[in-house]
């Protein structure tokens, strides 16, 4: 069977690239495609990821060549040249990134050639090839980071012994990327490190510039960012550490100990303080949590980055029972192998495929008097799972792209504070039906 996809939970490489650029401080995209690509792809993130919205110069403000039939026939490099020239004149930015789409790659426009002329003229500009048929949004994330950090930034041998970069969370496609990054930053700063998160409001272009002098790249995904981090090490000599996004106290304790060990820092009272605070809140909820019988079976439907940390949190911290973890991003065999997990993962994307698999794995009662069914059930997935959950009488919380049924600002699920937030959201959904 061919690899068509039902309701993909990602878009094309260009979409991922644009989402990255839209969340990098003072980086301006120049989209070499028809006008629709930039607007449509940006909208899918602006509205589909907890209403992330458009930033400084993204969405309908993003410069685009807007090529038409004429350029498809005669080539689009003249239009690109003119668009770059006028973008530099009109738009204030510290770095301009030319991205491509399927049509301009197919007609073979020499984008790198045009851009190199501007580079020769000392303009802060680079080109990244991001045709849609090259891969999905996750791939686009890696392409554009690779273009900026491993190609545009000069090779840097000088390292700041306290500086770390955080990668692996993909803006938009990891809907809680900002809150998660801020919590990681908060904790690592408390350890005495300096942290480049790149995508949170507190960051500036200086953080991008200093990326190459980091002493460690922490990749919070077993799949996304790996290849990029390898090439980063080749170019700038910074080693990388691939780990799971820590959610909740147990995972975060481990995470902090590991980082402290790598930097020979004293983790000291930090873990104790954070646990004290976490349990100060968590303990109070035990009455409601236990008196109201909130123990659940859990099915997760998320991308590969969230699948394992999420299952671990609900299993270890809440004592819930995870029966199925569906991983919705399209992965190679090698990438799947990197995701070894106690609970076997199922690699499916289509809403219908997942609903069918769930019904097959856990049939509903056919009216038997005694039947051990999968209930009470909580489906933690995307908004697309809302109807699957309703059909099974399950609770539902959206945490994975696309998220249309909630607004996300600085909320995150990483770390200690994130663990509390996730707990609060999971239980809050259950309580919200009360009147």
């Amino acid at each position: 069977m061919s690899d068509f996809i039902e309701r993909p939970r990602t878009a094309c490489a260009l979409a991922g690239a644009l989402s990255v650029i839209a969340n990098l401080p003072d980086v301006i995209p120049i989209i070499h495609t028809s006008l629709g690509c930039g607007g449509n792809l940006a909208n899918s993130i602006a509205f589909g990821s907890g209403y992330l919205g458009s930033g400084y110069c993204s969405g309908s403000a993003a410069p685009s060549t807007g090529i038409t039939e004429t350029e498809i026939v005669f080539g689009g490099t003249d239009r690109l040249d003119e668009q770059i020239r006028n973008t530099l004149e009109l738009i204030e930015g510290k770095l301009y990134v030319v991205t491509t789409g399927c049509m301009t790659e197919m007609i073979g426009d020499d984008v790198a050639g045009i851009v190199s002329e501007y580079r020769a003229d000392d303009k802060p500009i680079c080109a990244v090839s991001t045709p849609s048929f090259k891969g999905d949004s996750y791939r686009g994330y890696e392409c554009v980071l690779d273009g900026i950090i491993n190609h545009y930034l000069p090779v840097n041998e000088d390292k700041d012994p306290k500086l770390v970069n955080i990668f692996g969370l993909v803006p938009g496609y990891d809907p809680f990327f900002r809150g998660d990054l801020e919590e990681i930053e908060r904790l690592l700063t408390a350890l005495g490190l300096k942290v480049n998160t790149f995508f949170t409001p507190g960051q500036t272009f200086e953080n991008i510039r200093s990326a190459s002098s980091a002493s460690l790249n922490i990749v919070l995904s077993r799949v996304w960012g790996r290849e990029f981090a390898e090439r980063f090490e080749e170019r700038h000599g910074t080693p990388y550490w691939i780990t799971d996004l820590p959610i909740g106290p147990e995972a975060t304790d481990e995470f902090l100990k590991e980082v402290a060990g790598r930097f020979k820092l004293d983790v000291g009272g930090l873990i104790e303080e954070e646990n004290h605070r976490f349990y100060g809140y968590f303990e109070r909820c035990a009455d409601a949590f236990c008196d109201q019988d909130l123990k659940h079976y859990v099915v997760t439907v998320t991308n590969s980055t969230y699948a394992i940390p999420l299952a671990r949190f609900v299993t270890r911290e809440l004592g819930w029972i995870v029966t199925d973890s569906f991983v919705t991003d399209k992965l190679t065999e090698e990438q799947r192998a990197a995701l070894d997990n106690e609970c076997p993962l199922q690699f499916l994307t289509g809403v219908q495929e997942i609903a069918s698999a769930l019904n097959k794995n856990h049939p509903n009662s056919r009216g038997q008097k005694y039947f051990d069914d999968l209930s009470p059930l909580y489906i933690i997935g995307s908004t697309l799972e809302k109807r699957t959950a309703a059909a099974r009488g399950a609770r539902h919380l959206s945490v994975s792209f696309p998220v249309y049924d909630r607004l996300i600002t600085d909320r995150g699920y990483a770390g200690y504070r994130g663990g509390l937030h996730l707990f609060e959201d999971l239980v809050g959904q259950i309580m919200s039906v009360k009147s």
Binding site: M1, S2, D3, F4, I5, E6, R7, P8, A11, C12, L14, A15, I28, S34, L35, G36, C37, G38, G39, N40, N43, S44, G48, G53, Y56, C57, G59, S60, A61, S64, T65, G66, I67, T68, E69, E71, I72, E82, Q83, N86, L90, I91, E92, G93, C102, M103, M106, I107, P131, S132, F133, K134, D136, G350, V351, Q352, T383, R387, P402, Y404
Partner: protein, 511 residues
């Protein structure tokens, strides 16, 4: 060959005199369009926007029991998640089952771009048919397969006989035109080529074989009903409250009203031919379809602007009434309605008098609303139309008469809008959905030009438009505070020159 016989529809650029880059006075626009100078213009700087595929999808998703198959790389369908949610809501508000829209993408990869994606398309259509059991499968043909020359029509032809659903190709590659309005033609082309638009014997009716009296009477009754039935063509920006208002008014004239083609099922679409008149609600939406229906079924049509504001609504009603010799009734109805609504809007008018307004969005609607607001005592300081084509001539002749010196721009560009708002400092912006956030960040009060959740048409619409303006002006603190904390990406020097400095006259020199 007639456009209707081609597998792919023409884009507006080849069918009509059209433009998307213009800045001038209202009174000069129509001539510029007629003489072709508009056609020649472009820009030296563009910002991303929409394409005909996006708007085509907005309409196709509303069709009942349909599945969308994107013949595309994985990104093109990205906005279907939000369109699906929007459609589910639109269905609920029309009393239909609130179900999401299943969609798939053929997910064209590098290998497919080289080797062709036809096999994949066939497999995707077959899977969609088997799993979702739809009545209609829209095969959406995007840029990539159009450039590599996939023979989509052949795949559609073959699968039509092997699957249960009606397989319909919808050709809407974005690169063919910068003008998004081409989507209306693309969508209607897909319907008129791919579906039955007239009732079928033994399916929709029992053929009258016995010429008995009863059958003849039944037939006469049917013909009478048909002679009083009008099809009103909705699309994208026209919501359920607008439909209700239009239905209320036309029903008051004794007409039987049905809406097409959004939110219709395959069975309902087969009733399209069974009407005495097709009625447009916007000059640039549906002339392509209405001309086809006249050619095919002999059904006359009325394209008489948008029923926005008192004068336009009366004119619109009268044009329809004329067909049924009900002009006097239409006048009486309009008199009655106007008297009531004039009284109702009085308190609002005092609050909005002399407000300086900038209006941006769809070409016909902004023209209609600009003249309406100026007649109600507001000051229209500039009009921004997303595109211009000859269908909009009637309303711009009117705009040219009523507001001759008002600056009109044909522009959907955010940077030009930003410049105009910053330099003209309007009291209120009325603008297209998708731009509201940008306007808010400039600190200026604004309301939606349209919003499918509210009424804009007829008398109810007029009341609600004014009510919403007054509501917006009651508290503008949010945007004032927001704007103080937002940095714009444009260099200061831009605001010191012309907003339209990047518009090129005659493909080369800048304005």
């Amino acid at each position: 060959m007639s456009y209707y016989k081609q597998s792919a529809p023409p884009v507006r650029d080849s069918r009509l005199r059209i433009g998307d880059s213009y800045a001038g006075k209202a009174c000069d626009l129509v001539n510029c369009g007629r003489e072709g100078c508009l056609l020649q213009q472009g820009r030296g700087f563009w910002q991303a926007g929409s394409c005909q595929m996006a708007l085509s999808l907005m309409m196709a998703t509303t069709v009942e029991n349909a599945v969308i198959v994107m013949h595309a790389p994985s990104g093109c369908g990205a906005l279907l998640h939000s369109l699906s949610a929007q459609t589910a809501k639109g269905r609920a508000r029309r009393g239909k089952a609130s179900v999401p829209v299943p969609w798939l993408t053929t997910n064209l990869t590098e290998a497919d771009v080289i080797g062709g994606g036809e096999r994949k398309l066939r497999e995707t259509i077959e899977y969609a048919d088997r799993v979702f059991r739809p009545e209609i499968i829209f095969v959406v043909v995007t840029c990539a397969p159009s450039i590599i020359g996939d023979d989509v029509e052949e795949v559609v032809r073959q699968t039509r006989s092997s699957v249960m659903a009606d397989v319909v190709s919808l050709h809407c590659p974005g690169f063919r035109s910068r003008v998004v309005a081409s989507a209306y033609d693309a969508f209607y082309h897909s319907l008129l080529r791919g579906l039955d638009l007239s009732p079928k014997p033994w399916k929709d009716f029992r053929p009258n074989t016995l010429e008995d009296t009863q059958a003849l009477l039944a037939d006469k009754k049917y013909q009478f009903q048909k002679s009083r039935t009008v099809n009103v063509w909705n699309a994208t920006s026209i919501g359920p409250e607008d439909e209700e208002e239009v239905k209320r008014l036309l029903s008051a004239l004794g007409l039987n009203v049905r809406f097409f083609a959004e939110y219709s099922s395959r069975d309902e679409l087969r009733q399209i031919s069974e009407a005495a008149l097709n009625v447009s609600m916007c000059n640039v939406h549906d002339d392509y379809m209405l001309k086809y229906l006249e050619e095919k079924f002999g059904t006359p049509y009325v394209i008489a602007g948008m029923p926005i504001g008192l004068r336009h609504t009366r004119k619109w009603l009268k044009e329809i009434a004329k067909h049924f010799a009900l002009e006097r009734e239409a006048d009486n109805l309009a008199d009655y309605e106007e008297e009531a609504v004039r009284e109702a809007i009085k308190p609002f008018l005092e609050q909005v008098r002399d407000k300086r307004v900038l209006i941006c969005g769809g070409v016909v609607r902004v023209g209609a609303e600009a003249t309406m607001l100026s007649e109600l005592g507001l000051k229209v300081i500039s009009i921004r139309a997303y595109h211009y084509d000859e269908g909009a001539e009637p309303i711009y002749e009117e705009v040219g008469d009523i507001l001759p010196d008002t600056p009109v721009a044909v522009s959907n560009q955010i940077f030009e809008m930003t410049h105009q708002i910053k330099t003209l400092k309007p009291d209120l912006v009325i603008s297209h959905n998708g731009t509201q956030g940008y306007v808010a960040k400039l600190g200026v009060p604004s309301v939606q030009l349209f919003d499918v959740d509210y009424a804009f048409f007829g008398y109810t619409g007029l009341y609600k438009i004014l009510r919403r303006i007054v509501f917006e002006l009651k508290n503008t603190s949010y945007r004032e505070r927001l704007s103080k904390n937002v940095r714009l990406p444009y260099k200061q020097s831009y605001f010191e020159g012309s907003a339209f400095k990047y518009i090129k006259k005659n493909k080369g020199e800048l304005l």
